[in-house]
Symmetry: C2
Subunit: 299 residues, 2 copies
Amino acid sequence: MGIDIGRTNLRAALVSAEGEVLASVRERTDVSGGPRAVEEQAAAAFERVGGRDACAIGVGIAGQCDVTRGVVLRGPNLFWPDVPFRDRLAGRLNMPVTLRNDVVMATVGEWRLGAGRGCQNMVAVFVGTGIGGGAIVDGRLLEGASGCGGHFGHISVQLDGPRCGCGRKGCVEAYASGLGLATRARSDPALPSSSLSRAGIDGAAVSQAVEENDALALRLRDEAAAALSSALGSVINCLEPRLVVLGGVVMDMPGLYERCARGALDSCLPSHRSVAIVRSSLGDLSGAIGAASMALDPL
Amino acid sequence: MGIDIGRTNLRAALVSAEGEVLASVRERTDVSGGPRAVEEQAAAAFERVGGRDACAIGVGIAGQCDVTRGVVLRGPNLFWPDVPFRDRLAGRLNMPVTLRNDVVMATVGEWRLGAGRGCQNMVAVFVGTGIGGGAIVDGRLLEGASGCGGHFGHISVQLDGPRCGCGRKGCVEAYASGLGLATRARSDPALPSSSLSRAGIDGAAVSQAVEENDALALRLRDEAAAALSSALGSVINCLEPRLVVLGGVVMDMPGLYERCARGALDSCLPSHRSVAIVRSSLGDLSGAIGAASMALDPL
């Protein structure tokens, strides 16, 4: 089975060896409760989808992970100190746990069972509360020195750009993630004349306002598309993938995907423009499906 | 033997199986003469270093290469149309030729015989007339879909930055390469009061002016360092290497390396800051040595 612990939603799925989802749940992640509360949630979700029938658990989590030690590292995402989440959960559920970054798991899902099936060189970028992704290089997951590769959200596209949660300026995550869009909307001088001023602002509210042709929301969407296009162009130039898979709830914002796909092709090197850019095909379960697949068959 | 065809210099080296340089030559690349003139130059250099004693030739060239077809692709660097350089040179010298991008070869050189020996996850970035590099991922060269991976010079660090030779805005190559520095110096309003106004401007002239504490040159150096730091921070976040090797003649500019190494660590994710950043150790022969190594023992 797979558990996908994002900053906003926690999803769990019981998945067959063929990749079929047999049962799944989704709820808000109890971020404010910290590691113990999330561990409780994961254990409860495990029971609810019939995790006892599984032979192994994969967990994807919104944070940098030290793969060797199974530790979620102190980072900008969940605001946890270094937590040995893998071994804690494995001990509690009495089942082996494989731990990775949430969108690395989603990348594995799209690669093995989704839009990237059969591709040996691909990149996946997921735009949700944060932005992250993963890469398959010559048929193998790019892990990096300690399993932390693929943090495409922390490509800076503007030296003097908005401050990101990681401390740096101009990261694409600060422009285009759900959190980044909300922060930018809140501090924009045009907010009072926008429909966004009426309620709590998050990524979904910005999406909704785009739908209603709100001027501020449209501008934020276009700035997000420009930042994503630039970051994707840079990733394509660095890794020369054959395929780029774009996913995450923010990608459902009207017009965003089309602008990003076109913008990425316009900004990469002419020799790299044969790259295919597609939508993810597993939807919001790509992370849980990928985690389950990784637990069953580690890379 | 290895031949390194940069946009400014062509270097050839006869290298022993242990990596010892037995003979070498260096001359200006006849860029204006086009592919045929460069082919002549390569053949002449081959004879001068005693290439007849070699068993294979590796060629690194400043351009995007299609590795499968052995073709130098139309691109921003040498301004060639698609040229089947590998087979032409192999036919002429009657010896197998292995073709790659010049700084990909230099990366292989530093990895196998230089500063990166024994490292399984490393990135090398070379700052010369242009900027490029390569990556070793889990002990294997990152090639990309057609051998064009590693174009780190074409990471954009500023959405509205200076126009790059590739057509895009804000590439780190437009800020920090020899060509980029020269272009920026020439169009700077402060040029008349700079020592740079006195002669032909190229990367070496900017380096010289930095040495003399020229205000314009110091500013250009600092802007180059900021751009390189940002691009390196992004590369570290994406690939999580254990080691970053910095090379190329522009890196010898006083104070540049130190600013880049510090800036890269400041801008990457906290979880990635254990990365080591070092100078290249093979100097200006890293490309030729890497090409020879690649010819003898392909990856």
